[in-house]
Symmetry: C2
Subunit: 386 residues, 2 copies
């Protein structure tokens, strides 16, 4: 429980260097003066660190674009994307996307392909990921130093073992181990909602919010929690499965064995039912239908919105976040519907009332949220050793 830290002087230097890199990586270019202030270090320490990093090509210093201020502009310290490149892999039910992401979070190159029943088997996905990575890395002349994988499933974080990814129909796949040996770099595998939460926390709507929950609907519904600035995980690194919170006893059967899981009431199929679309409608059809929904037809969403609200009240009462970010299909809900959900959650949650009102927002990172989360998971182990 005691959190006072301990280290030798060379560890102090490494720690300061990693903190500086992390700040540049997550928050973007800054002057030396800003780095000193934000890191609480003195100017001479910053000078030594920046000079060292510039010498090894990890950062460069550049005159900023001319602004309105008078006088000589301060040099900006910029992270050099090529100094540390990670591979991000986003495995979804309909497609796989991979990207090489540089220091600073910029996507340097990407590739993606559709999945069909036929090509969704673990062996096929793994083979295709490796081939595609090799091509992309050769194309860009870059070598990733670590990889992060996002996947809609129950994942043991410690070794990247996929216990179950029901919508992919994967069971017990040693994904972490297999990719580590094929790619020959450290590989982190995470649940997609967990990594979405990480991306929104570091680069999206939840920047600066140290207690937040990300809830995303695709085919399934998942959630990730950041508590006191750190990702919340359970035993063996498993994250919670918020989509399998039962909200409607004796409701629809869920593949998990329960009835009335939140996922069965607010997942893609439930949204299709609300919109009077066939349950197998494509993402494009659903999003277009939501966009074009007439004022009079918005009532179709009432029951769907009520189940979303009820589950969000539970989530807020259980985790006490300052902000909930909705992702995936939820970002397509009409603004008045989202506003009403927010009001209701603030009104009906005891913990929100204690907090003076939880905020409900939508993802700012769009389709890249899980890819960027996978990249950040990979960067976690990298910034100490760049």
């Amino acid at each position: 429980m005691t959190s006072t830290p301990v280290a030798r002087p060379d560890e102090v230097r490494r720690y300061n260097r990693a903190s500086l890199l992390r700040l540049l990586h997550v928050a973007g270019p800054r002057t030396r003066a800003a780095l000193a202030t934000e890191l609480g270090l003195n100017r001479s320490t910053i000078k030594t660190l920046v000079d060292g990093l510039a010498e090894s090509g990890v950062v460069e210093e550049r005159v900023p674009r001319p602004g309105r201020g008078a006088g000589r502009p301060s040099l900006l310290v910029l992270p050099q994307p090529q100094a540390a490149v990670v591979l991000a892999i986003n495995i979804q039910v309909e497609f796989v996307a991979i990207a090489l992401v540089g220091l600073g979070g910029q996507i340097l190159g990407r590739n993606s392909w559709n999945l069909h029943q036929r090509t969704r088997a673990p062996d096929d996905v793994i083979t295709h990921v490796i081939e595609s990575t090799t091509l992309l890395a050769a194309d860009l002349n870059l070598r990733p130093v670590a990889a992060g994988v996002s996947l809609p499933g129950v994942v043991r974080r410690s070794d990247g073992h996929v216990h179950e990814a029901p919508n992919l129909r994967w069971t017990d796949v040693a994904l972490g181990q297999r990719l580590t040996s094929a790619l020959d770099v450290p590989v982190v595998v995470g649940n997609d909602a967990e990594l979405g939460a990480l991306a929104e926390h570091l680069r999206g709507t939840a920047r600066g919010a140290s207690d937040m929950v990300f809830i995303s609907a695709d085919i399934g519904v998942g959630g990730g929690v950041i508590a006191q600035g750190m990702p919340l995980r359970g035993a063996a690194g498993y994250v919670g499965e918020v989509g399998h919170m039962v909200v409607r006893p004796r409701g629809r059967s869920c593949y998990c064995g329960n009835e009335g899981c939140w996922e069965t009431e607010i997942g893609e199929a439930a949204l299709c039912r609300a919109l009077k679309l066939p349950e197998e409608s494509t993402r494009g059809t659903i999003v277009a239908e939501l966009r074009d929904l007439s004022h009079d037809s918005r009532g179709w969403l009432d029951e769907f919105a009520e189940w979303l609200t009820l589950g969000l009240v539970n989530v807020v009462n259980l985790f006490g976040p300052e902000l909930v970010v909705l992702g995936g299909l939820f970002t397509g809900l009409p603004a008045p519907v989202l506003d009403k959900i927010g009001e209701q959650v603030r009104d009906r949650s005891l913990v929100s009332r204690a907090l003076g009102g939880v905020r409900i927002g939508t993802s700012a990172l769009g389709n890249d949220v899980k890819l960027l989360g996978a990249a950040e998971a990979a960067f976690e182990g990298v910034l100490d050793s760049v």
Copy 2:
């Protein structure tokens, strides 16, 4: 995110000293050799630390009781209870208990009194706590250096502000501030289930479990979570209110404004209904009725057990603990009922299946669990400076 620590040499010594004290405090007397092994420090560092602590009377070394082993027994290092004493306060709906707790967790003296409608007002409780503490401290000739308060309510941890304690009928009470100025020591105020979780984690059934949830039923139902060895809190230090997770939409009305909260289905009133007792039955009556329940009457508990199970499936799916500890009234449930609940939760929770089976246990600390939790909350700030 980088967690590598930084410190100066004197901080290192203080950190090692606090770690050693924490180990003795939580885990009990140990030989120097055991301390060296468990803390990963060398023998000479341990010697310096123990000698220093013995000199200032914080520990003493003693020959252990003769065992079966041959040869000279190693000296045991024992924490001296009087070296650091905290005040623990447990405010419940029916009573208040206070205790002076010494280093090592021993209760050195205690007092308690019943509360009635008339004496439950914040002013009366605070006055009585202060008077009673003064008497107890004088009696024992001890001066507490910090205080911890446990309370069934929504508490802002940062300053001990009680937003709402519905069963006490308290709203917006600056409890932390008022006790701090009256007692003239640092005061930590926590939600009772949160502090129960802390006590079970450090001294009870959940010792050694770094991911656990404590769920307790008294009049209300509360829960506390330890995740990766640390108490889980939300924004502003508020903890979740698991009792207000809606499990039964359109169920009974709850004072929180929702219908079908878990608390309305598994709290004291629900247990009375299940046992065909009047809802205002005393704790003693309920416990006796549970104890004497005939085999044939156990079926009365079926519906109650189903709601308990359903909520526990949700809790396990949301937090992914290795262990759930049930406290309060739940400890009185017949063993076969508890066993069946455990089986069902393991069977019906996706996350439990991934984990290879969550364990469900009952509190080992009995009525003292919240008092001991309050003491541990107070000790958190103390062990660094003993």
